[in-house]
């Protein structure tokens, strides 16, 4: 159920090579932009774990992204921690705990309720940060020293260097992808796939489905925390906008635009959407207007995302399960009201 077609595998390898050699040819600005895109891709991929694989549509995923970023800024300022070996686990744990609490409350509901509740709780955290002067209020916080990555006193990567940060982010993106693949192939992955397709049946087979959904929510939250951590480290700055509903919405757009339930789709989606945003914002101050129409266009004309175009061209003769699966998801999820 999680087999990757060969064409996709080739594409992924080619993309990885392209990303690996990219900094040798690119200007500084673009190195930084692609770094940002890769970080967003990790975030979107974590959301895909929920939306595409577990069937949980969260509209509050940015909360965990933001918490990861704020956690780094806070421990760096208040505890003087700089090593990645302490700050990263703290940031991921903070996101995980928040996801555990919010998930525990939200998972009791499903469908539209779940969408509204995750949005509401994320907004609550947004206001907590926004109204808290110790966290810099609406201005946000600075990260004065970037995390260090060293073993036995030797620096492995210097995150102050843009190119090295780029490669570090690429490493994180690749590792996140492999991590998600591992989870999806595991016994746990089978259960969440079953829950997405037919939750009552999964429960009747003997799985306490709430627990699995919560576990999925927490894992996705932790991965989002990693992305938030990197976002904070890249720009040396966090503000409440990281947790905003717009950030959550953008991640959902990326997942759908790229193709949900594929993991690599959200990576493609991140590149397309953020490059588009970057281009449009250089043309007009009111670029969000165009993005709004673009989002509507995607919903109406490309609901299965860019990834579906790749597989569609290749698989015309053989009747594979790729196309059929998405229709099942749609009908399954629509039936819950």
């Amino acid at each position: 159920m999680t087999r990757t077609p060969r064409a996709v595998l080739l594409f992924l390898v080619a993309a990885l090579i392209a990303l690996a050699v990219f900094p040798q040819f690119a200007e500084r600005f673009y190195i930084q932009l692609v770094t940002k895109i890769m970080i967003v891709a990790i975030f979107a991929m974590s959301l895909d774990l929920l939306v595409g694989y577990t069937g949980l549509v969260s509209f509050g995923h940015a909360a965990f992204f933001g918490i990861g970023g704020y956690a780094l800024a806070i421990v760096a300022r208040d505890l003087d921690l700089t090593s990645i070996w302490t700050t990263l686990p703290i940031a991921i744990a903070a996101s995980g705990v928040a996801a555990l609490v919010i998930g525990w409350l939200s998972i009791r509901t499903s469908g539209v309720y779940f969408i509204m509740i995750t949005l509401a709780f994320a907004q609550m955290l947004f206001f907590v940060v926004h109204d808290n002067l110790a966290l810099g209020g609406s201005d946000g916080m600075y990260l004065n020293t970037k995390p260090t990555v060293s073993v036995a006193g030797i620096d492995l990567v210097n995150l102050r260097n843009r190119t090295e940060f780029y490669y570090f982010s690429l490493l994180c993106l690749t590792a996140s992808y492999l991590f998600c693949r591992m989870i999806l192939r595991s016994p746990f992955g089978r259960v969440i796939a079953a829950i997405r397709i037919n939750e009552p049946r999964t429960r009747a087979l003997g799985y306490p489905t709430q627990r699995y959904k919560l576990a999925s929510f927490v894992v996705a939250g932790m991965l989002a925390g990693l992305a938030g951590y990197l976002a904070c480290a890249q720009f040396g700055f966090v503000n409440p906008a990281l947790l905003s509903w717009r950030e959550s919405g953008q991640a959902l757009v990326i997942v759908i635009l790229g193709g949900m339930g594929t993991l690599y789709g959200p990576v493609i989606g991140s590149f397309v959407l953020i490059l588009l945003e970057d281009y449009l914002s250089s043309l007009t101050e009111h670029w969000l207007l165009v993005i709004g129409f673009f989002v509507i266009g995607v919903v109406l004309f490309l609901p299965d995302g860019i990834a579906s175009l790749m597989t569609r061209f290749r698989r015309r003769p053989a009747d594979e399960d790729g196309g059929g699966e998405t229709t099942v998801v749609a009908s399954g999820a629509a039936g819950d009201d």
């Binding site: 939306v51 549509v57 509209f59 409350l105 939200s106 009791r108 509901t109 499903s110 469908g111 539209v112 309720y113 969408i115 509204m116 509740i117 949005l119 509401a120 709780f121 907004q123 609550m124 206001f127 907590v128 109204d131 509903w245 919405g249 959902l252 757009v253 759908i256 009111h286 969000l288 207007l289 993005i291 709004g292 129409f293 673009f294 989002v295 509507i296 995607v298 919903v299 109406l300 609901p303 998801v329 749609a330 999820a333 629509a334 819950d336 009201d337």
Partner: protein
Amino acid sequence: MILATQLSMDPSFFLIQLLNSVQYGFLLFLVASGLTLIFGIMGVINIAHGSFYMIGAYLTYWLNLQTGNLFLAIALGLPLTVGLGYAIERLAIRFLYARDHLYQVLLTYGLILIFNELQRLIWGNDVHGVPTPPGLNYSIPLTEAQAYPVYRLFISAACIALAAAMYWVIQKTRLGMTIRAGASNRTMVQVLGIDVSRLFAVVFSLGAALAAFSGMLSAPVSSVYPGMGEQVLIISFVVVVIGGIGSIKGALVGAMLIGLADTFGRVLLPEFAGFVVYALMAVVLLWRPQGLFGEPAR
């Protein structure tokens, strides 16, 4: 604690907070009832619902500038928002009826981006005040130091009138009968041979107008600013989650609870002001995940 004792000693202070709660609750009720109607009957979750609130407020601000009369501004603005709701339903929402909630959320998210950007294009990023209409800009003295603005009472009165009218429409008219049938059993409406596409367009326009009307009434009290739509949208979600989705009665009770919790939360627990309404939602989720008046999921 100091405030708590003040509250118990000073009944007029308590009264003011209570009136504020009710007034805020009614405004929320208008927005939330539109949201819950649209979901209950059409099965559509409309994230852009708050945008109609924002549009109502901005239209009032603008029409009030042109005409110099708030009531005239509302009277002119309301048909415009009904028309806008109708157009949005025909141009975008109607493609969503058979679709997963995920796509409904995304499309209406796109609408928010468009509405917000149009608002910036037309009216800019500034916060605008809307003057209270001349006949209503005085206060009723309660004690020597405290008075209550009449316009706030007017808001509550207007909302009560509207809620009564809604009740009448839903209970007594043919349209209301269809709406009730649709809310309890969507397929039944189709079986009864009612023109569903027209019913949906009407419901969506009415829902949009309810949110817009709420924004219009609140404009003189809360002023008009970018992002006001999302703020009210999210609180309306909390209202609907508490009350139970699809239930108008739930929307009313939920809105009043939130009005009370928010107003008194700000006074009694100022450090946790932003928290209180969400805490209330969390408690309801633990106790009755389907909301106070919602049908249990099966």
